[in-house]
Amino acid sequence: MKNDSRCRMRSHLLRSATVLAPMLALAALVTTPAAGQTIDYGSLEQLFGEAVTTSATGSPDRVTDVPANMEILTADDIRRSGAYDIPGILRHVLGVDVLQWNNDNADVGLRGYDQAFSPQVLVLIDGRQVYAEHYGYVPWAALPVELAAIRQIEVIKGPNAALYGFNAVSGVINIITYNPLYDDVNTAALSAGTQGMAQASAVQTIKFGENGGVRLSASGRLDDDFSTPIPVSAGTLPRIGNDRFAFDLNGVFRLSNKVQFGFEASHSGAASNDIDPIYSLVHDRNLMTSIKGQLTADTNFGLLQATVYRNWTTHRYDGPNLNTAFKDEATVAQFQDLFKLGAAHTIRASLEYRHNEVGTMPYAGGKIFYDDYAASAMWDWHVTPALTVTNALRWENLHLGRTGSVPNGYPFSNADWNKTITETSYNSALVWRVSEVDTLRFLTGQGDQLPSLTNLGALLFTSPFYNATGNPDVDPTDVTNYEIDWDRSLPGIGGRFRAAAFYEQSLDFITNAGVIFPGSGPPPYLGASNVGNSMARGIELSLTGKFATNWRWGANYRFESITDRFTPVLQGNSPFVDFQHVTPVHVVKANLGWASGRWETDAYVYYQSATRGLASLPVGVGSYLTPVPGYVSFDARVAYRLTDWATLAVSGQNLGQSPQQQTSGPKVERRVFATVTVTY
């Protein structure tokens, strides 16, 4: 078996090498040697007068040139948002949906398709995946990053799987931190507020001349959850208090004029109440540990980058009927070459290997794992100075497996996991700068959301009353997006207008509990399954501007209509997924900010039309829809610079009606807190 697996691995590596070798040879023949460095976002941003990103294609682009619908939140935006966590910042962004279940726990979706344990948005920190694949979700509170260490948050809407692979289907959120080689960030902050909030955070950079830098970040937070009643549908589990801690060490060193080595080590954790995929209140504790190494070299073959990282995630999950701890280990090795062919063509060729494994829980003794081999290429062609065509393709070959024991009456044997999933994803874009102020983008992309390891069988629950597990036969969800964007820069008001129209089709959505395996048990096993397809159509409009030198403003609107074609399961009950009825049709967001001298003030308003939310049936297995009225909420921040190095800020969230029904879970409460920040 091991030999087979090795042979398979060799064959795949050979196949990938066959794809990459001619490209490298071509690069060697035609690229011009060029000295250089890894990406110094700050210098490039200052030069071009706009944010710079590599998240759309893997190659550096100015945000106005990217072949994708992307929003970039700068460090200024992050600070002035007044939010204390990343979902709170993202909530102000056009196209981002946030389900705020609890004080420290939210699920984030892009263009609808948000749900409890939202699996469709791939999240990375400096390119390292922090999306937890064992359950297909993002443990936002446990991410090892301080807001003060973030240079920018990049939000790409629509599939971008040709660059990132599986799970980049609704979009990608890449959190880019300051580079300790180029950026010197030293700050400490203390916060205190309602719901017993107490938080401390510090970021310290140590520079080693021009040849290296290390950044250390640490933080801790304690607070209480909302005190609003828990809906009956969410169960009777009493709440716990929230806590969070994080340590991160990030360093970049110049080994020579053309070679840099970067490393990162992090350890973080968060405990909070959460709403699980079957819409019951549970206690979650996520512990995340990671190490990463990255070597970048500017060579005659192009800009080479080799990255290796390993993530350990322990996810303790305590529900009314289920107490368990998933231990997920993911190892990723990536290699890419980025080079120019002639004056007009940029090519990125990449290989990736990923191994992920998790033990079955709470029935211990089994292990679900996969080995994924991927090869991808991107070709960016500047046809004319005004016209760029970008095409990217990724081929992915995933080998699924299971080892260990199975309980009596289990509907599968280990052999059922011996299967291969082969998928090809693409992104294609035409960016046409029609005039000095107008840009049109024609975009299409396709990607696949992999069933989580839980969906694939890592969940194995047995009891005398009911049994639940995953299903090795669940197919990935295939998502295709078509989109037209129009950007018009408005120098007269120092802003920009953007209109986007999109159509997205998702085939084979996955539910955690959609099928009963006949003949299993007793009692028979309930498991994950594909439930059908969904189509979304939408329009996004946004306008930003500045006036009277000190004021800035923005307003945006999203219309979205989703049609689900889901098969009723489990004796006709709804299968815990419903996007047609839970995605708000109209969402409006606006902000107004003023900064002068020592003062900075910002206000944000959010409106969403009436919708519905999913809730767990009190009897039997399945979900039902509960009304969520339309609502308006307000966030605000006022900051005063006490000295050149100290700032006092007061921030508030959900400042309107409190408590307010925003989801099918507990109502959210107003939160106000003060922060003293020292920058040195």
Binding site: T32, P33, A34, A35, G36, Q37, T38, I39, D40, S43, L44, Q46, L47, F48, G49, V52, S59, P60, D61, R62, E210, D298, G302, L303, L338, F339, K340, A343, A344, T346, H382, P385, E436, V437, P491
Partner: protein
């Protein structure tokens, strides 16, 4: 009837306004100075200075910038003076300190500089700058995009209406000028 008469009066006034506007624009165009050269401002110089930061051979620290001008060309002389005034005795940008050196077109071969900055209108100096750039491996940068396109300079800088950096590959190869690979991915090469 009264309404029609008012409408007629309004139409006549609108016509008069349009004719007036057209005449004003025509007069403005006829009387405008021949040179429409945009003045070099501090933001323009910052863009150029930051682009210089990506030239591999310049490393970091002091860069002697040879402002090449043709004394007989008024626009060239004017731009050279503007740039000299902007740089002052030194101009700090990124990891570099730019120090201006005024270089007459006929003194290019002997100028002790690390970089040529070819002014607009100094066409007469273009060939000697290109030759000196090749022979002495000194890169050349310019705000005059025609000089980048014709190969006299390696780098052309446009700041309005949108910042664009142009890079002449042939001139770069001849003058041994390398740019950071990352930077080259973001600029327009020809």
């Amino acid at each position: 009837m009264i309404i029609f008469s008012q409408m007629k009066r309004r139409a006549t006034s609108a016509k008069a306004l349009l004719v007036g506007l057209a005449l004003s624009i025509a007069s403005a165009l006829l009387l405008a100075p021949v040179s429409l050269r945009a003045e070099i401002t501090r933001p323009d110089m910052l863009v150029a200075g930051r682009a210089i930061g990506f030239i591999d051979k310049l490393g970091s620290g002091d860069v002697r910038v040879g402002i090449v001008f043709a004394p007989e060309s008024a626009p060239s002389l004017q731009q050279a003076n503007e740039i000299r005034d902007l740089l002052g005795s030194q101009f700090r940008v990124g990891n570099h300190v730019l120090r201006p050196v005024m270089v007459r077109a006929d003194q290019v071969n002997n100028a002790g500089v690390d970089l040529f900055l070819l002014t607009e209108g100094a066409d007469i100096a273009a060939s000697s700058v290109a030759a000196s750039s090749r022979a002495r491996k000194i890169p050349c940068i310019t705000f005059d995009l025609a000089q980048e396109r014709n190969g006299a300079c390696v780098i052309g800088v446009q700041t309005r209406p949108r910042i664009e950096i142009l890079f002449n590959r042939k001139a770069a190869a001849e003058s041994g000028t390398n740019l950071s690979s990352v930077f080259r991915l973001m600029i327009t090469e020809n």
